[in-house]
Subunit: 340 residues, 2 copies
DNA sequence: TAAGAGTAGTTAAGCGCTTAACTACTACGA
DNA sequence: TCGTAGTAGTTAAGCGCTTAACTACTCTTA
């Protein structure tokens, strides 16, 4: 591979001149620039990124930290959609993406992650840090790397989805349809901040319409389809008079619908079901699913833009991404219910 | 950040000694090792990866190249599952993953990708190169970086899923159930080698059982759920006597099932449907889906192991990952059909 | 007892690039 | 005529690490 020196020799200038011309430093004649560019062409020169990183102190690498909490990291399409927003922004700025998946347990993060963070390999970080019991941010802060968090852990720069409002809207929607006996398919507390926020929204809307939060029948799943089935089986057996089910994500909602059918309940005629996320299948299932759309690519995009603006010395504001209630076929007015 | 020199000074040895002790070079007394390790502890030293990369000529970065062909890259859970297999292997070897998503068009790859490949930043590459009309491998070969391809583009080291056998098994399964009128939901040719292989398998099994391949009713989708619906609508309208549908992936199969229902066909009583991939929803849909399971994490794992063995100077054999027919509820014997 | 083999560490070159500090030349106003 | 400002390029230090080549000491063994 040709180096700067080869180019410089060929162009008849110093390596400093080549380096500066390539980084668009002013004060060079057109003819010098020409000579350099021609030599670059002829030699097929490409800068050696490790050398550049060492000399300049910048690596042009952003780390994308997706902690490996529950096994779902590599199962959840949500992750991929966030990446979809991150990638073009990075590419556009000439930055590369290092995918970092630390093992996150109650006792902290793994050693490999620590090394990587402290190795000077990474210019900036986008983290997906959203589990209450642990955080990947601490070593990053310690090392002083600029970081944007997509999630609820508090740090200087954050992007969040408006989960609270999403939860609120779901409950509000069901109440407006006349539902009074509403079951909840939740997840275990302390698993996920977003889920907690969604529940806060659900409860707030319940209270706003005069319902008692404590009396809402609840089952706990783990975001998976099968757990949705199990929870629905449990809830419908214990509370046969339920007319609606709020599920904290779409996959559990789809499972719940299957299970309800097996138990002889027609959806939505006898049971309304709502989900959260608006995964692609929500629009294609039978019945199509009423849900909350959170714009994952946009969150990735916003986070990346924030990161680059931090890297440029600015101090951007944190972002709250709006959500949207998508009403489809899985919800309907309660039979004989009184619509307000 | 402390450097090797700080550690060396504190330990009272030369930087070479520290470097060698840390890389487990023989011929050092226990006491020297101790002094060094203690100094490392006290200073909190971490090697600077860019400096190490420059000096040693290795970056400890493997590139994972997922070309951005159709927009599906960030939508397809398959990708994530391949990563699931790659990540632990890399992590175990102390390597990091650089996620590379070149824009791949008929006119080649984008400039940023070219730069990255030629920049000396990457020790080895795992590519997912599977579109007939273009390839990301050429610049990699030119630069001489060790590469393993997950897909059908020919290169020294390859990992493939046995798509041919998968297709064969699907057709064989339906034939064994007595189906004779079978529709195909295909994708456009030249989009994906795997799809082509699957079709070859389907056709081979058809011929083996004496069917005429040309007469198989076929519609072309694009792997999406909605395209599955559209294709099913088309096929069932044009060929009302179909008793079974082979879909080249699960998402199209799920769409086809929905559409068949809407058109008054019960699945599987009046129409058997099979998919390909075994995505999580295949086991949770209603009816559950008969499909072919291809082990994506395993493919990632095998590819990564091959890469490291290449990096160690070995020449591993290419791998063909077996597939498995998963029979579920969406297929049944044809009514009044004669089972062999 | 001297040559070779093994052990334990040091010296210093250099990986390829960036950039502060410097030289040198031209132009121009006071 | 001198001083200053602007323009155009060079010199050389150094980023933090690895490693070939070297020194120096201690055993063996013929």
């Amino acid at each position: 591979m040709p180096t700067l020196e080869d180019v410089a020799r060929k162009a008849g200038v110093s390596t400093a001149t080549v380096s500066k011309v390539l980084s668009n430093t002013p004060y060079f004649t057109a003819s010098t620039r020409d000579k350099v560019m021609r030599a670059v062409e002829e030699t097929g020169y490409m800068p050696h990124l490790a050398a550049r990183a060492l000399a300049a102190g910048r690596t042009c690498i952003v780390g994308v930290v997706f902690p490996w909490v529950y096994d779902g990291i590599f199962t959840d399409p949500h992750i991929l959609h966030i990446l979809e927003g991150i990638e073009p922004e990075c590419s556009q700025h000439g930055y590369n993406i290092l995918l970092i998946t630390p093992r996150l347990t109650t006792s902290g993060v793994d050693e490999h992650y620590l090394q990587l963070i402290r190795s000077g390999y990474i210019d900036g970080i986008i983290a997906l840090d959203n589990v209450p019991f642990a955080s990947v941010l601490e070593p990053i802060h310690k090392k002083g790397i600029p970081v944007v968090n997509i999630g609820y852990h508090v740090t200087s720069y954050m992007v969040r989805s408006d989960d609270y409002t999403g939860g609120y809207q779901l409950m509000q929607h069901l109440v407006a349809l006349g539902h009074g006996e509403i079951g909840i398919i939740d997840v275990q507390p302390d698993l996920n901040y977003s889920a907690e926020e969604r529940m806060k929204g659900v409860y707030a809307a319940a209270e706003a319409s005069g319902m008692s939060v404590e009396s809402l029948p609840t089952a706990r799943g783990d975001f998976s389809v099968t757990s949705g089935e199990a929870c629905a089986a449990d809830l419908l057996a214990r509370h046969p008079n339920l007319t609606a089910l709020i599920c904290l994500n779409d996959r559990m909602a789809l499972g719940a619908i299957q299970q309800a059918r097996r138990m002889g309940r027609q959806v939505p005629q006898q049971l309304s079901v709502v989900g959260f996320d608006d995964i692609p299948l929500a629009a294609a299932s039978d019945p199509t699913l009423t849900t909350i759309r959170s714009d994952a690519p946009r969150m990735g995009r916003e986070a990346t833009r924030m990161l680059f603006s931090v890297l440029n010395g600015q101090t951007p504001d944190s972002v709250l991404c709006p959500v949207q209630l998508i009403v489809r076929q899985s919800t309907t007015a309660v039979k004989g219910g009184c619509l307000t």
